[in-house]
Amino acid sequence: MQYLLFINNSPDIDPSAPPEKEPMDIEDWVDQMDARGVRKFGDRLQSAADATTVRVRKGELLVTDGPFVEGKDYIAGIDIIECADLDEAIEIARLHPMATAGNIEIRPFWVWED
């Protein structure tokens, strides 16, 4: 199965609270997942302040600054992983430092019927 991991900043994390101990730092996570052969691609993104939203409505182009939905949490990075099933995807995600410092949404890729 292929999954996209949305690495999110979390609004529910209290910035004044002492930071929780993360399972490993991001370089170690990337090295470990690359060595396991489960990580296909991944990178960090610029902040939501640098996002641009494009829509076409009634044939007219609308370009706006920022993300389409204003919210406190935003996607800070993505990873594409390939692994056996959701349990393995959860195990991979829980080791990511942002699972502790933020949250990770696991989305399976659409499966095209042949």
């Binding site: 099933d85 959701l86 399976p108 499966v111």
Partner: protein, 405 residues
């Protein structure tokens, strides 16, 4: 004769449904196909057992028929040849089927599904209730429940939720989720008000049935035994829990002659086996409390000190206000109403708006003969809008303490 056949089919349905569905899901990976073929098999049984007699081994008969239905359905689909081969190779070893049912339970209770989906899916696929029966038990329209089940099965397929018992290193964190589903099922069976009681009570029985399967499959997990013991002990008191009008009767006033003694003995023996493993947990402690109540000859001779000790341990595992509240009540029963009132005062700020807090205060005040203060607390409890049967109970008590001597 028709009655006998229907009874045999109903019994086979209770005993074999989950096993047949679980096995077909393993070999086809297709939840809807598995349910449809199991349904077909039971319909065939109704038609054919009346004519040909009930087979010696109904489970094997049903599995074979369900398997043949699966082969027929898969043959009609062009792109399912690999599943077809798996089904045709299916030959019925008993061990595999126990594993299949455990796989089914763990998959239905996967934490990536919402709790309500887990409960519905467990009732549908493990216990074999129809969508209509589950909808009635949870008081939602049948279409809503059907939608919920379709969505849950869709998520299992699309998100890649594995069909398996989690490996050892994950079992510890996954088992509590399974037990929680069974406990929700069980308590749903009891939280019903009188009008709903008839449709809900089977839920409690289904929860016990699935817990029995789980206990059989995981004999080394004491919390499974603890939960089963808790449910069996509570269920043993069901006849005394409500009066003729369906209103709740406090355990103090229940007719102990109505309790199911055989079930209590069974619950106590399950609990003893679990406690012997010396890995105590929340369900075992709650079962200890239920066991003290169930084995006391009357309210006055209940060993409340043993109950307080169990609540002390429980409060360490679970610092929730409700446990703290029950612990305070137990203190009051063990050491007298004055101590009970003091204990309630200590935790009152954590129980803001909880109608049982003034109700408990009222009860301790009533026992102390402080009738005017008791009446005030009953009125306060009534103001916090509990359910109708509870309102009637509180009004009765209020009338007692305000009556002239």
């Amino acid at each position: 004769m028709g009655g006998l056949v229907e009874e045999a089919v109903a019994r086979a349905h209770r005993e074999e449904w989950g096993r047949i569905v679980a096995t077909l899901i393993r070999v086809t990976g297709d939840w809807s196909l598995a349910e449809d073929c199991a349904q077909d098999a039971f319909e065939s049984a109704l038609a054919r057992w009346g004519r040909d007699g009930v087979p010696d081994n109904p489970g094997a008969w049903l599995t074979t028929v369900a398997k043949n239905h699966a082969i027929d359905r898969l043959r009609r689909r062009a792109n399912e040849q690999s599943k077809l081969k798996e089904v045709m190779a299916l030959d019925d070893p008993e061990d595999d089927q126990l594993d299949d049912r455990l796989r089914l339970i763990f998959t239905c209770c996967h934490p990536a599904l919402t709790l309500e989906s887990r409960v519905a899916l467990t009732l549908r696929t493990v216990a074999g209730l129809t969508t209509g029966e589950i909808a009635r038990a949870f008081l939602v329209p049948e279409a809503t429940m059907a939608q919920r089940l379709v969505r849950a099965k869709g998520k299992i397929r699309n998100a890649g939720i594995p069909y398996r018992v989690p490996p050892g290193h994950l079992l510890g964190e996954r088992l509590p989720g399974v037990l929680a589903v069974l406990y929700v099922l069980f308590t749903e069976g009891y939280s019903a008000s009188s009008g709903e009681r008839l449709v809900r009570e089977p839920l409690a029985e289904e929860a016990i049935r699935v817990a029995r399967i789980l206990a059989l499959l995981m004999p080394d997990e004491p919390e499974v035994g603890g939960l089963l013991a808790l449910m069996v002990l509570q269920h043993a008191r069901r006849a005394g829990r409500t009066d003729a009008a369906g209103d709740p009767v406090s355990i103090e006033e229940q007719d102990r002659g109505s309790w199911d003694r055989a079930a209590i003995a069974e619950g106590l023996s399950i609990l003893r086996r679990a406690l012997r493993r010396h890995r105590v947990g929340g369900y075992q402690l709650q079962a200890v409390i239920a066991a003290e109540h169930a084995s006391a000859p009357n309210w006055g001779q209940t060993d409340f000190r043993a109950i307080v000790r169990a609540y002390d341990d429980l409060a360490r595992l679970d610092p929730s206000p409700v446990i703290a509240f029950n612990r305070a009540i137990a203190w009051g029963m063990a050491e007298g109403p004055t101590v009970g009132l003091e204990r309630l005062d200590l935790i009152a700020d954590r129980l803001e708006g909880y109608y049982l807090l003034p109700a408990a205060r009222a009860d301790f005040l009533r026992r102390l003969g402080r009738r005017r203060e008791a009446a005030e607390q009953y009125e306060r409890a009534l103001g916090l809008a509990p359910s109708e049967p509870e309102t009637r109970f509180l009004e009765r008590r209020l009338a007692e303490v305000t009556a002239r001597e």
